[in-house]
Symmetry: C2
Subunit: 301 residues, 2 copies
Amino acid sequence: MNARGDFEDLCFEDWMPAVRSRVEEALSRFLPPEETAPKRLHRAMRYACLGGGKRVRPLLAFAAGEFSGAASSRLEIVACAVEMIHAYSLVHDDLPCMDDDALRRGRPTCHVEFDEATALLVGDALQSLAFDLLSCEVLGARQLEMIALLSRASGSLGMAGGQAIDLEAVGHSLDREKLELMHTLKTGALIRAAVLLGALCGESLTLEEAGSLSCFAQRLGLLFQVVDDILDSTASTEILGKTAGKDAAASKPTYVSLLGLKDARDFADTLYSQTVEMLSPFGERGGRLADLADFVANRNF
Amino acid sequence: MNARGDFEDLCFEDWMPAVRSRVEEALSRFLPPEETAPKRLHRAMRYACLGGGKRVRPLLAFAAGEFSGAASSRLEIVACAVEMIHAYSLVHDDLPCMDDDALRRGRPTCHVEFDEATALLVGDALQSLAFDLLSCEVLGARQLEMIALLSRASGSLGMAGGQAIDLEAVGHSLDREKLELMHTLKTGALIRAAVLLGALCGESLTLEEAGSLSCFAQRLGLLFQVVDDILDSTASTEILGKTAGKDAAASKPTYVSLLGLKDARDFADTLYSQTVEMLSPFGERGGRLADLADFVANRNF
């Protein structure tokens, strides 16, 4: 049974909750049960992964899987691996030595609900588990390429590297090029990985298809972060489920602080148009990815 | 050129520094250069990995590689991957929310030399890099098995899980079974992974050989930790290069606190005899592993 078989006939409004629910169930299955020792660590890992989140990266993996005709039994695995990396990064980012945040997804952050040492180990163990998933399950001929992709997207030349640039930038002004590099690494790398991992679960793409999909994913990752910057400066803490306005409060450079709100919105519009353009040669095949780009551009949380 | 070709003729006293030097050079090559952005993060990653350490895990990987006739070009890769996981765990363990230690390998710990947020990212990025290495390089037909092995040894059912049990145990008394479980996970899992990864670089082992090697590695991992407990209570900070006596000071359960020094030494002797016994059917083929078990049992730092 492939992704088309499971979800293809759903309209986008039904497709999103169906995929989210599938991913939630799969995450719960792949995470060690609370009853398995060490229980407190496993309880905290489940707390950090389950019961919340937009699941943008899993949705992207499933949408890219529709593009390449992938089986949903594979897609749920790569979707969970990417989401575990994302969840680990949130747990570590929220720690007192990083952003020191008490609220995430409308609930206390992991180190507030448990303790700092446990939150540190939760992040560490979730990262291991993501690679465990990608190496143990059967994902086809390009499995090593998937692991290489996810590890690079996560490491010092990807997400963790973006965090490091972010740290160095606090209190400094970044030029636009440096800000784009930071966001491309910090958020973009994993968003891009989600798309490409989903695609790798299916049929081989032509060079041209792979190139377009990679560019789409890169622009979408940046779009996601620009919209995040806009929401951080305009939406309420209640709607976001995390502390609003904290980037400005921490003197962190954002697209809004660099360009102003209006130009940041214009930039988001430009990026959105670019994502649509990159999908246009593929017609209906890229429909789900286009719907997701639209969702990312217009989300209000 | 295989491990035998590179190192086989060396006596153990020459073999150890030769392998260490090979691993140091390989680590330096696999770590991103300091000049690559984000520079501070890469400088800290190199600080955490290079220029110190007994390199027990890389030595074990190379010794197991001699057992299975593996090429040293492969062994250096798995040795570096395991050592990166080990280095990340030390950086995270030393953080204020964990052991809060200022000294490691005779130098300031990573968060003291840099800062806590950077140390957090150093550990995260080193873990990613370990899996990057195992997925990108060419390691033969059993590469996915290697990645699965290392991820399980690192995660909540391995090293990170052992840390979590350690956290829960502070100020409590553990019975011997629970203490053995803690040490088997916290230190033993990665020691075992080092041996098996080295073996997986070479010829397939028979079921009997694989079983013996796995048992050897399991006992050796426990031996390593029992000796660590003994050294923590008897050696000086200067010789250890890390703070001595800190387990007792932190009311952490150890084999010395549980059994007393004399019985802990007897237990180490028993474990050492078991490791030798498991290798005896293999004669000279297991010679290097036997030498290493002897080194682990009798080290004084």
